[in-house]
Protein backbone atom coordinates (compact mmCIF):
# COMPACT_ATOMS: atom_id res chain seq x y z
CA UNK A 1 0.00 0.00 0.00
CA UNK A 2 1.35 3.40 -0.93
CA UNK A 3 0.01 6.87 -0.50
CA UNK A 4 -0.36 8.92 -3.61
CA UNK A 5 2.49 11.36 -3.78
CA UNK A 6 1.37 14.93 -3.49
CA UNK A 7 -1.95 14.06 -1.92
CA UNK A 8 -3.03 15.81 1.23
CA UNK A 9 -2.33 12.83 3.46
CA UNK A 10 1.12 12.56 2.01
CA UNK A 11 2.02 15.82 3.69
CA UNK A 12 0.95 14.66 7.14
CA UNK A 13 3.34 12.97 9.48
CA UNK A 14 3.25 10.82 12.56
CA UNK A 15 5.18 11.42 15.71
CA UNK A 16 7.85 8.75 15.53
CA UNK A 17 7.72 7.92 19.18
CA UNK A 18 4.00 7.67 19.82
CA UNK A 19 2.84 7.15 16.25
CA UNK A 20 0.10 9.71 16.49
CA UNK A 21 -0.64 12.89 14.63
CA UNK A 22 0.28 16.19 16.13
CA UNK A 23 -2.41 18.66 17.01
CA UNK A 24 -1.79 20.73 13.93
CA UNK A 25 -2.10 17.71 11.72
CA UNK A 26 -5.27 16.68 13.46
CA UNK A 27 -6.76 20.08 12.87
CA UNK A 28 -5.96 19.85 9.21
CA UNK A 29 -7.45 16.40 9.13
CA UNK A 30 -10.62 17.65 10.76
CA UNK A 31 -10.94 20.28 8.07
CA UNK A 32 -10.36 17.66 5.42
CA UNK A 33 -12.96 15.40 6.92
CA UNK A 34 -15.45 18.23 6.98
CA UNK A 35 -14.84 18.84 3.31
CA UNK A 36 -15.53 15.22 2.51
CA UNK A 37 -18.59 15.11 4.73
CA UNK A 38 -20.99 16.44 2.11
CA UNK A 39 -24.07 15.17 3.85
CA UNK A 40 -23.16 17.00 7.02
CA UNK A 41 -23.60 13.93 9.13
CA UNK A 42 -20.05 13.93 10.44
CA UNK A 43 -19.58 10.55 8.81
CA UNK A 44 -18.49 9.13 5.50
CA UNK A 45 -20.59 6.48 3.88
CA UNK A 46 -19.17 3.57 1.95
CA UNK A 47 -19.17 5.33 -1.42
CA UNK A 48 -17.36 8.38 -0.13
CA UNK A 49 -14.96 6.19 1.81
CA UNK A 50 -14.24 4.07 -1.24
CA UNK A 51 -13.48 7.03 -3.44
CA UNK A 52 -11.37 8.65 -0.78
CA UNK A 53 -9.18 5.59 -0.35
CA UNK A 54 -9.12 4.92 -4.06
CA UNK A 55 -7.91 8.44 -4.67
CA UNK A 56 -5.19 8.64 -2.07
CA UNK A 57 -3.87 5.08 -2.08
CA UNK A 58 -3.30 2.24 -4.48
CA UNK A 59 -5.58 -0.16 -2.66
CA UNK A 60 -7.92 -2.35 -4.65
CA UNK A 61 -11.65 -2.44 -4.30
CA UNK A 62 -11.78 -5.59 -2.19
CA UNK A 63 -9.06 -4.25 0.09
CA UNK A 64 -10.97 -1.00 0.54
CA UNK A 65 -14.06 -2.99 1.38
CA UNK A 66 -12.12 -4.98 3.97
CA UNK A 67 -10.82 -1.78 5.52
CA UNK A 68 -14.29 -0.29 5.61
CA UNK A 69 -15.73 -3.34 7.32
CA UNK A 70 -12.87 -3.33 9.77
CA UNK A 71 -13.41 0.30 10.72
CA UNK A 72 -17.17 0.18 10.79
CA UNK A 73 -17.10 -1.40 14.19
CA UNK A 74 -20.57 -0.18 15.00
CA UNK A 75 -21.92 -1.71 11.83
CA UNK A 76 -23.77 1.44 10.87
CA UNK A 77 -22.43 1.61 7.35
CA UNK A 78 -20.63 4.87 7.98
CA UNK A 79 -17.24 5.95 9.21
CA UNK A 80 -16.90 8.65 11.81
CA UNK A 81 -13.92 10.83 12.52
CA UNK A 82 -12.51 8.47 15.12
CA UNK A 83 -12.26 5.68 12.63
CA UNK A 84 -11.04 8.06 9.95
CA UNK A 85 -8.29 9.27 12.23
CA UNK A 86 -7.24 5.73 13.01
CA UNK A 87 -7.17 4.84 9.36
CA UNK A 88 -4.98 7.82 8.55
CA UNK A 89 -2.59 6.84 11.32
CA UNK A 90 -2.39 3.31 9.97
CA UNK A 91 -1.77 4.56 6.44
CA UNK A 92 0.91 6.97 7.58
CA UNK A 93 2.58 4.33 9.73
CA UNK A 94 2.87 2.07 6.74
CA UNK A 95 4.01 4.88 4.49
CA UNK A 96 6.77 5.85 6.93
CA UNK A 97 7.73 2.25 7.74
CA UNK A 98 6.63 2.46 11.33
CA UNK A 99 4.45 -0.63 11.40
CA UNK A 100 6.20 -2.34 14.29
CA UNK A 101 6.23 0.78 16.37
CA UNK A 102 2.63 1.52 15.56
CA UNK A 103 1.49 -1.96 16.52
CA UNK A 104 3.53 -1.77 19.70
CA UNK A 105 2.17 1.61 20.72
CA UNK A 106 -1.42 0.87 19.86
CA UNK A 107 -1.68 -2.84 20.43
CA UNK A 108 -5.06 -2.68 22.10
CA UNK A 109 -6.99 -0.89 19.38
CA UNK A 110 -5.29 -2.95 16.70
CA UNK A 111 -6.16 -6.14 18.51
CA UNK A 112 -9.76 -5.04 18.67
CA UNK A 113 -9.74 -4.18 15.00
CA UNK A 114 -8.35 -7.58 14.09
CA UNK A 115 -10.79 -9.33 16.37
CA UNK A 116 -13.69 -9.26 13.93
CA UNK A 117 -15.84 -11.79 15.70
CA UNK A 118 -15.51 -10.26 19.12
CA UNK A 119 -14.15 -13.40 20.68
CA UNK A 120 -11.15 -11.62 22.20
CA UNK A 121 -8.89 -13.93 20.25
CA UNK A 122 -7.39 -13.63 16.82
CA UNK A 123 -6.32 -16.37 14.49
CA UNK A 124 -3.99 -16.51 11.51
CA UNK A 125 -6.83 -15.73 9.16
CA UNK A 126 -7.26 -12.33 10.81
CA UNK A 127 -3.65 -11.49 10.18
CA UNK A 128 -3.82 -12.72 6.61
CA UNK A 129 -6.82 -10.58 5.91
CA UNK A 130 -5.07 -7.39 6.98
CA UNK A 131 -1.63 -8.24 5.79
CA UNK A 132 -1.72 -5.37 3.29
CA UNK A 133 -2.25 -2.92 6.15
CA UNK A 134 0.01 -4.15 8.89
CA UNK A 135 2.59 -6.02 6.83
CA UNK A 136 3.02 -9.01 9.09
CA UNK A 137 4.88 -11.52 7.01
CA UNK A 138 4.18 -15.23 6.83
CA UNK A 139 7.35 -16.16 8.62
CA UNK A 140 6.56 -13.70 11.34
CA UNK A 141 3.11 -15.22 11.67
CA UNK A 142 4.56 -18.67 12.03
CA UNK A 143 6.98 -17.47 14.66
CA UNK A 144 4.16 -15.60 16.30
CA UNK A 145 2.03 -18.66 16.78
CA UNK A 146 4.94 -20.88 17.56
CA UNK A 147 6.44 -18.68 20.23
CA UNK A 148 3.51 -16.80 21.70
CA UNK A 149 0.57 -19.14 21.57
CA UNK A 150 0.95 -20.01 25.22
CA UNK A 151 -2.53 -21.39 25.60
CA UNK A 152 -2.01 -23.66 22.62
CA UNK A 153 -5.33 -23.02 20.95
CA UNK A 154 -3.74 -21.64 17.77
CA UNK A 155 -5.24 -18.28 18.56
CA UNK A 156 -3.86 -15.32 20.39
CA UNK A 157 -5.53 -13.50 23.20
CA UNK A 158 -4.57 -9.92 23.97
CA UNK A 159 -1.74 -10.74 26.36
CA UNK A 160 -0.12 -13.05 23.86
CA UNK A 161 -0.55 -10.46 21.17
CA UNK A 162 1.00 -7.82 23.41
CA UNK A 163 4.02 -10.04 24.00
CA UNK A 164 4.35 -10.41 20.28
CA UNK A 165 4.31 -6.65 19.78
CA UNK A 166 6.98 -6.18 22.43
CA UNK A 167 9.12 -8.84 20.85
CA UNK A 168 8.76 -7.47 17.35
CA UNK A 169 9.51 -3.98 18.63
CA UNK A 170 12.73 -5.20 20.23
CA UNK A 171 13.67 -6.93 17.05
CA UNK A 172 12.98 -3.79 15.07
CA UNK A 173 15.11 -1.69 17.38
CA UNK A 174 17.96 -4.17 17.16
CA UNK A 175 17.78 -4.13 13.40
CA UNK A 176 17.85 -0.35 13.45
CA UNK A 177 20.93 -0.41 15.65
CA UNK A 178 22.60 -2.88 13.36
CA UNK A 179 21.88 -0.68 10.38
CA UNK A 180 23.33 2.32 12.17
CA UNK A 181 26.42 0.39 13.12
CA UNK A 182 26.90 -0.74 9.56
CA UNK A 183 26.72 2.83 8.43
CA UNK A 184 29.13 3.91 11.11
CA UNK A 185 31.72 1.25 10.21
CA UNK A 186 32.72 2.59 6.76
CA UNK A 187 32.93 6.07 8.23
CA UNK A 188 35.32 4.80 10.86
CA UNK A 189 37.39 3.11 8.20
CA UNK A 190 37.59 6.26 6.18
CA UNK A 191 38.60 8.25 9.20
CA UNK A 192 41.22 5.64 10.11
CA UNK A 193 42.65 5.77 6.61
CA UNK A 194 42.89 9.51 6.81
CA UNK A 195 44.65 9.32 10.15
CA UNK A 196 47.15 6.76 8.87
CA UNK A 197 47.79 8.85 5.79
CA UNK A 198 48.46 11.85 7.92
CA UNK A 199 50.77 9.89 10.13
CA UNK A 200 52.67 8.56 7.16
CA UNK A 201 53.02 12.02 5.73
CA UNK A 202 54.20 13.36 9.00
CA UNK A 203 56.73 10.54 9.24
CA UNK A 204 58.11 11.32 5.78
CA UNK A 205 58.33 14.98 6.53
CA UNK A 206 60.09 14.24 9.77
CA UNK A 207 62.62 12.03 7.99
CA UNK A 208 63.24 14.68 5.40
CA UNK A 209 63.72 17.28 8.01
CA UNK A 210 66.21 15.11 9.82
CA UNK A 211 68.08 14.32 6.62
CA UNK A 212 68.18 17.97 5.71
CA UNK A 213 69.42 18.79 9.12
CA UNK A 214 72.14 16.19 8.90
CA UNK A 215 73.20 17.51 5.57
Amino acid sequence: MKLKQGSFLWYLYLDKLYCLLSVRNVKALVEYFHLLDVHRKKTLNDVLFYHFLHHVTDLKRNQITIVFNMLDWNAVGEIGFDQFYMLVCILLAQENHLEEQFIFRHSRPIFELLDLDGELKIGPSNFHMYNFLFKIKKQQLRDLYHDFDITGDCRLNYKEFKLFTIFSMNKYQESQKAVKEEKAVPEKKVSQVNVSQRQSLLGINHFESISNYNC
Binding site: F8, Y11, S22, D82
Partner: protein
Protein backbone atom coordinates in the same frame (compact mmCIF):
# COMPACT_ATOMS: atom_id res chain seq x y z
CA UNK B 1 -23.62 32.56 23.88
CA UNK B 2 -20.44 31.53 25.46
CA UNK B 3 -18.56 28.87 23.69
CA UNK B 4 -16.73 26.17 25.51
CA UNK B 5 -13.03 26.14 25.08
CA UNK B 6 -11.49 23.53 22.95
CA UNK B 7 -9.20 21.54 25.15
CA UNK B 8 -6.55 19.69 23.32
CA UNK B 9 -4.05 17.34 24.77
CA UNK B 10 -0.71 17.32 23.05
CA UNK B 11 1.80 14.55 22.93
CA UNK B 12 2.86 12.74 25.02
CA UNK B 13 -0.30 11.67 26.64
CA UNK B 14 -2.71 8.85 26.68
CA UNK B 15 -5.37 8.96 24.04
CA UNK B 16 -8.86 9.84 25.02
CA UNK B 17 -12.05 8.67 23.43
CA UNK B 18 -13.55 11.46 21.46
CA UNK B 19 -16.93 10.28 20.47
CA UNK B 20 -19.43 7.79 21.77
CA UNK B 21 -18.66 5.60 18.78
CA UNK B 22 -16.97 2.82 20.64
CA UNK B 23 -16.10 -0.68 19.80
CA UNK B 24 -18.92 -3.03 20.69
CA UNK B 25 -16.44 -5.46 22.02
CA UNK B 26 -14.88 -3.20 24.54
CA UNK B 27 -15.86 -0.42 26.82
CA UNK B 28 -13.58 2.16 25.36
CA UNK B 29 -13.23 1.08 21.79
CA UNK B 30 -10.18 1.15 19.57
CA UNK B 31 -9.72 4.86 19.47
CA UNK B 32 -6.51 6.69 18.92
CA UNK B 33 -7.98 10.11 19.45
CA UNK B 34 -5.85 12.59 21.26
CA UNK B 35 -8.50 15.22 21.52
CA UNK B 36 -10.60 15.80 24.55
CA UNK B 37 -13.77 17.69 23.93
CA UNK B 38 -15.95 19.31 26.48
CA UNK B 39 -17.85 16.71 28.44
CA UNK B 40 -21.01 15.37 27.06
CA UNK B 41 -20.23 16.35 23.55
CA UNK B 42 -20.26 13.60 21.04
CA UNK B 43 -19.52 15.82 18.16
CA UNK B 44 -16.54 16.65 16.11
CA UNK B 45 -14.03 19.17 17.29
CA UNK B 46 -14.12 22.30 15.31
CA UNK B 47 -11.55 24.90 14.92
CA UNK B 48 -12.30 28.54 14.80
CA UNK B 49 -9.70 31.09 13.99
CA UNK B 50 -9.80 34.77 14.44
CA UNK B 51 -6.99 36.62 12.85
CA UNK B 52 -4.33 38.57 14.59
CA UNK B 53 -3.05 41.63 12.99
CA UNK B 54 -0.37 41.90 10.42
CA UNK B 55 1.95 44.75 11.07
CA UNK B 56 1.58 46.46 7.79
CA UNK B 57 -1.73 48.17 7.73
CA UNK B 58 -1.89 51.29 5.71
CA UNK B 59 -4.63 53.55 6.85
CA UNK B 60 -5.06 55.05 3.50
CA UNK B 61 -7.92 57.00 2.13
CA UNK B 62 -9.97 53.86 2.04
CA UNK B 63 -10.67 54.18 5.73
CA UNK B 64 -12.19 57.57 5.28
CA UNK B 65 -14.55 56.19 2.73
CA UNK B 66 -17.59 54.15 3.34
CA UNK B 67 -16.25 50.97 1.86
CA UNK B 68 -13.59 49.42 4.01
CA UNK B 69 -10.86 47.33 2.44
CA UNK B 70 -11.50 43.64 1.89
CA UNK B 71 -10.72 41.34 4.78
CA UNK B 72 -7.34 39.76 4.84
CA UNK B 73 -6.62 36.65 6.80
CA UNK B 74 -4.31 37.85 9.48
CA UNK B 75 -2.35 35.27 11.31
CA UNK B 76 -0.74 35.10 14.69
CA UNK B 77 2.84 35.99 13.98
CA UNK B 78 5.63 34.83 16.16
CA UNK B 79 8.44 37.21 16.97
CA UNK B 80 11.29 34.94 16.07
CA UNK B 81 9.79 32.58 13.58
CA UNK B 82 10.63 33.02 9.95
CA UNK B 83 7.09 32.57 8.85
CA UNK B 84 3.70 32.91 10.35
CA UNK B 85 1.39 30.18 11.38
CA UNK B 86 0.86 29.63 7.75
CA UNK B 87 -0.17 26.07 7.49
CA UNK B 88 -3.21 25.44 9.54
CA UNK B 89 -4.05 29.04 10.30
CA UNK B 90 -3.99 29.90 6.65
CA UNK B 91 -6.08 26.91 5.81
CA UNK B 92 -8.63 27.81 8.40
CA UNK B 93 -8.76 31.51 7.74
CA UNK B 94 -8.76 31.27 4.00
CA UNK B 95 -11.49 28.70 4.24
CA UNK B 96 -13.32 31.09 6.47
CA UNK B 97 -12.90 33.94 4.05
CA UNK B 98 -13.87 31.86 1.08
CA UNK B 99 -16.61 29.81 2.50
CA UNK B 100 -18.37 32.42 4.51
CA UNK B 101 -19.58 34.09 1.37
CA UNK B 102 -21.29 31.15 -0.16
CA UNK B 103 -21.99 28.96 2.78
CA UNK B 104 -23.66 31.60 4.81
CA UNK B 105 -22.34 30.75 8.21
CA UNK B 106 -24.14 32.87 10.69
CA UNK B 107 -21.95 33.09 13.72
CA UNK B 108 -18.40 33.58 12.58
CA UNK B 109 -18.80 35.99 9.71
CA UNK B 110 -16.13 37.85 7.80
CA UNK B 111 -17.42 40.97 9.47
CA UNK B 112 -16.24 39.62 12.81
CA UNK B 113 -12.95 38.61 11.31
CA UNK B 114 -12.51 41.97 9.68
CA UNK B 115 -13.33 43.77 12.86
CA UNK B 116 -10.86 41.71 14.80
CA UNK B 117 -8.24 42.48 12.20
CA UNK B 118 -8.99 46.18 12.06
CA UNK B 119 -9.18 46.54 15.82
CA UNK B 120 -5.94 44.79 16.37
CA UNK B 121 -4.07 46.71 13.73
CA UNK B 122 -5.41 50.08 14.65
CA UNK B 123 -4.93 49.80 18.34
CA UNK B 124 -1.46 48.28 18.24
CA UNK B 125 0.24 49.64 15.19
CA UNK B 126 3.76 49.51 16.51
CA UNK B 127 3.64 46.07 17.93
CA UNK B 128 5.63 43.20 16.79
CA UNK B 129 3.98 39.86 16.54
CA UNK B 130 1.10 39.78 18.84
CA UNK B 131 1.25 36.31 20.21
CA UNK B 132 -2.32 35.83 21.18
CA UNK B 133 -3.67 33.37 23.60
CA UNK B 134 -5.57 31.44 21.06
CA UNK B 135 -8.59 29.65 22.14
CA UNK B 136 -10.14 27.11 19.93
CA UNK B 137 -13.80 27.12 20.46
CA UNK B 138 -15.42 23.85 19.85
CA UNK B 139 -18.27 24.71 17.56
CA UNK B 140 -20.28 21.60 17.94
CA UNK B 141 -23.16 22.43 15.67
CA UNK B 142 -23.29 21.73 12.01
CA UNK B 143 -21.82 24.79 10.49
CA UNK B 144 -19.62 25.32 7.50
CA UNK B 145 -16.01 24.38 7.42
CA UNK B 146 -14.75 27.88 7.14
CA UNK B 147 -17.04 29.12 9.82
CA UNK B 148 -15.60 26.77 12.33
CA UNK B 149 -12.14 28.23 12.17
CA UNK B 150 -11.71 31.20 14.42
CA UNK B 151 -8.79 32.13 16.59
CA UNK B 152 -9.93 34.32 19.43
CA UNK B 153 -7.53 37.11 20.08
CA UNK B 154 -6.88 37.66 23.73
CA UNK B 155 -5.71 41.20 24.25
CA UNK B 156 -5.58 40.89 27.98
CA UNK B 157 -3.16 38.06 27.80
CA UNK B 158 -1.47 39.17 30.96
CA UNK B 159 -3.94 37.08 32.82
CA UNK B 160 -2.75 34.05 30.98
CA UNK B 161 0.57 33.40 32.52
CA UNK B 162 1.14 30.29 30.48
CA UNK B 163 0.14 31.95 27.29
CA UNK B 164 -0.40 28.61 25.68
CA UNK B 165 -2.63 28.40 22.71
CA UNK B 166 -3.93 25.08 23.87
CA UNK B 167 -4.67 25.99 27.41
CA UNK B 168 -7.90 27.72 28.10
CA UNK B 169 -10.20 27.68 31.01
CA UNK B 170 -13.72 28.76 31.40
CA UNK B 171 -12.67 31.24 34.02
CA UNK B 172 -10.74 33.18 31.45
CA UNK B 173 -13.77 33.90 29.35
CA UNK B 174 -14.51 37.03 31.27
CA UNK B 175 -11.19 38.50 30.45
CA UNK B 176 -11.01 37.17 26.98
CA UNK B 177 -11.66 39.01 23.84
CA UNK B 178 -15.22 38.43 22.74
CA UNK B 179 -16.22 39.21 19.19
CA UNK B 180 -19.25 41.16 20.34
CA UNK B 181 -17.10 43.43 22.44
CA UNK B 182 -14.68 43.63 19.59
CA UNK B 183 -17.31 44.84 17.25
CA UNK B 184 -18.27 47.69 19.48
CA UNK B 185 -14.68 48.45 20.25
CA UNK B 186 -13.71 48.32 16.61
CA UNK B 187 -16.55 50.49 15.54
CA UNK B 188 -15.76 53.05 18.16
CA UNK B 189 -12.15 53.14 17.19
CA UNK B 190 -13.01 53.40 13.54
CA UNK B 191 -15.23 56.33 14.25
CA UNK B 192 -12.53 57.93 16.30
CA UNK B 193 -9.99 57.44 13.61
CA UNK B 194 -12.21 58.84 10.97
CA UNK B 195 -12.99 61.77 13.14
CA UNK B 196 -9.35 62.45 13.82
CA UNK B 197 -8.37 62.05 10.22
CA UNK B 198 -11.05 64.49 9.18
CA UNK B 199 -9.95 66.91 11.86
CA UNK B 200 -13.06 66.49 13.91
CA UNK B 201 -13.49 67.49 17.50
CA UNK B 202 -12.40 64.18 18.85
CA UNK B 203 -9.08 65.14 20.31
CA UNK B 204 -10.35 64.62 23.80
CA UNK B 205 -10.81 60.95 23.06
CA UNK B 206 -7.27 60.54 21.82
CA UNK B 207 -5.95 60.44 25.32
CA UNK B 208 -8.33 57.65 26.12
CA UNK B 209 -7.32 55.74 23.06
CA UNK B 210 -3.68 56.26 23.97
CA UNK B 211 -4.33 54.81 27.39
CA UNK B 212 -6.09 51.87 25.86
CA UNK B 213 -3.23 51.42 23.45
CA UNK B 214 -0.65 51.39 26.17
CA UNK B 215 -2.57 48.89 28.24
CA UNK B 216 -3.10 46.63 25.28
CA UNK B 217 0.51 47.00 24.26
CA UNK B 218 1.71 46.03 27.68
CA UNK B 219 -0.58 43.06 27.81
CA UNK B 220 0.57 41.88 24.42
CA UNK B 221 4.18 42.34 25.37
CA UNK B 222 3.57 40.13 28.32
CA UNK B 223 1.89 37.58 26.13
CA UNK B 224 4.82 37.57 23.74
CA UNK B 225 7.16 36.47 26.46
CA UNK B 226 5.04 33.55 27.63
CA UNK B 227 4.90 31.14 24.72
CA UNK B 228 3.91 27.57 25.02
CA UNK B 229 6.93 25.46 24.46
CA UNK B 230 5.26 22.70 22.53
CA UNK B 231 3.65 25.28 20.28
CA UNK B 232 7.01 26.84 19.44
CA UNK B 233 8.58 23.51 18.80
CA UNK B 234 5.71 22.60 16.57
CA UNK B 235 6.10 25.79 14.61
CA UNK B 236 9.81 25.70 14.18
CA UNK B 237 10.71 22.09 13.73
CA UNK B 238 8.20 20.95 11.16
CA UNK B 239 7.52 21.71 7.59
CA UNK B 240 4.36 23.67 6.92
CA UNK B 241 1.34 21.87 5.67
CA UNK B 242 0.07 22.52 2.17
CA UNK B 243 -2.47 25.22 1.65
CA UNK B 244 -6.20 24.89 1.72
CA UNK B 245 -6.36 24.74 -2.05
CA UNK B 246 -4.71 21.37 -2.19
CA UNK B 247 -7.13 20.06 0.38
CA UNK B 248 -10.12 21.52 -1.38
CA UNK B 249 -9.05 20.37 -4.83
CA UNK B 250 -8.50 16.88 -3.63
CA UNK B 251 -11.82 16.82 -1.81
CA UNK B 252 -13.47 18.15 -4.93
CA UNK B 253 -12.03 15.39 -7.05
CA UNK B 254 -13.06 12.74 -4.59
CA UNK B 255 -16.55 14.14 -4.28
CA UNK B 256 -16.94 14.37 -8.04
CA UNK B 257 -16.09 10.73 -8.39
CA UNK B 258 -18.40 9.88 -5.55
CA UNK B 259 -21.18 11.76 -7.20
CA UNK B 260 -20.71 9.78 -10.37
CA UNK B 261 -20.93 6.62 -8.35
CA UNK B 262 -24.10 7.81 -6.71
CA UNK B 263 -25.53 8.48 -10.14
CA UNK B 264 -24.60 5.03 -11.27
CA UNK B 265 -26.21 3.56 -8.22
CA UNK B 266 -29.27 5.60 -8.84
CA UNK B 267 -29.37 4.44 -12.44
CA UNK B 268 -28.63 0.85 -11.37
CA UNK B 269 -25.36 0.76 -13.19
CA UNK B 270 -22.28 -1.04 -11.91
CA UNK B 271 -19.70 1.19 -10.34
CA UNK B 272 -16.75 1.50 -12.65
CA UNK B 273 -18.75 1.32 -15.87
CA UNK B 274 -17.69 4.67 -17.19
CA UNK B 275 -19.10 4.51 -20.67
CA UNK B 276 -22.75 4.50 -19.72
CA UNK B 277 -22.28 6.86 -16.86
CA UNK B 278 -20.49 9.32 -19.11
CA UNK B 279 -23.33 9.10 -21.61
CA UNK B 280 -26.03 9.65 -19.03
CA UNK B 281 -24.29 12.07 -16.72
CA UNK B 282 -25.04 15.77 -17.03
CA UNK B 283 -22.41 17.80 -18.86
CA UNK B 284 -21.43 19.82 -15.81
CA UNK B 285 -20.45 16.63 -14.06
CA UNK B 286 -18.06 15.59 -16.80
Amino acid sequence: MEEKPFKVRTLPGPPHPVSPQTHPRSTLGPSLAILSLSPGSGQLPTITASPSPPRQLSLGPGWAQDTPPPPQPALPFLPNSPRPLASLGVCGLQALAKSSGHRGSGKSSPHDTRNLWTTATQSQPKLNVPLPTVREDSELEGSSVGGKTRWSYNQKAGHDSDGGWEESDDGEDKDSFKPEELDEHALMELEMRRGSSLGGPLEEDDSKTDDEKSSSVSSLNISKHTPHRAYWVEQQSRLPLPLTELMENEALEILTKALRSFLRLFLHLPIGDDSLSVALAPPWLL
